[in-house]
Symmetry: C2
């Protein structure tokens, strides 16, 4: 059983490579075979398979083999998980910034040195 934090490690690690993001991008437009996935990328099939393993380990992509062809597709649920983590933090600290803004706005013009809102 994978801890949520470990899976987030794997997901963001998977996203941290332009080649893998390109693969996800292609998969977001529909399923693809390994060689189709490799086609636009300037690397060997072998390298692509290794990237694919990383994407699968993170859960972002699943695949199944039929005959000699492996077809890959992306899993939106796992991507949603990565999105949620970011979204929660972002909202939390945007709310914080707003409150700070309100506070400063309610304060009449005052020397607020040492308390810079945003540089």
């Amino acid at each position: 059983m994978l801890h949520q934090s470990d899976q987030l490690d794997l997901i963001y690690q998977a996203l941290a490579d332009a080649g893998r993001r390109a693969m996800l991008d292609q998969l977001s437009r529909g399923p693809a075979t390994v060689s189709k996935l490799a086609e636009p990328l300037d690397m060997t099939l072998s390298a692509v398979v290794q990237h694919l393993k990383i994407l699968e380990a993170s859960g972002l992509v699943r695949s199944e083999k039929l005959g000699r062809v492996r077809t890959c597709r992306a899993d939106p649920k796992v991507l949603a998980m990565a999105e949620r983590w970011i979204n929660q933090r972002r909202l939390m600290w945007e709310r914080k910034l707003d409150k700070l803004g309100d506070l400063l706005a309610s304060q009449p013009d005052d020397d607020d040195s040492g308390k810079d809102v945003k540089s």
Copy 2:
């Protein structure tokens, strides 16, 4: 000037570590000094500073030094950028899945083997 793709590399790379996410988490609850940031983490101050550099290089965190104290705060705009990339892909392929669902639903029970919807 940083290409968008390069910055995404840096952002996701920065997010791909539980320690750095913990730091962001703390920063989402408000600014903090380097040592405050280090306190709950089981590693040397030196290591924390190195993580901080990674977070700053990605743009997720900015900091300024006053006297001998460095105060760090997170930047929601950069996080929004990471969120947007994910969100766009996710929506794209959820739409795709929905359309596929509709198609299958409209199709009376039929053997559609060998007839992939879009290759």
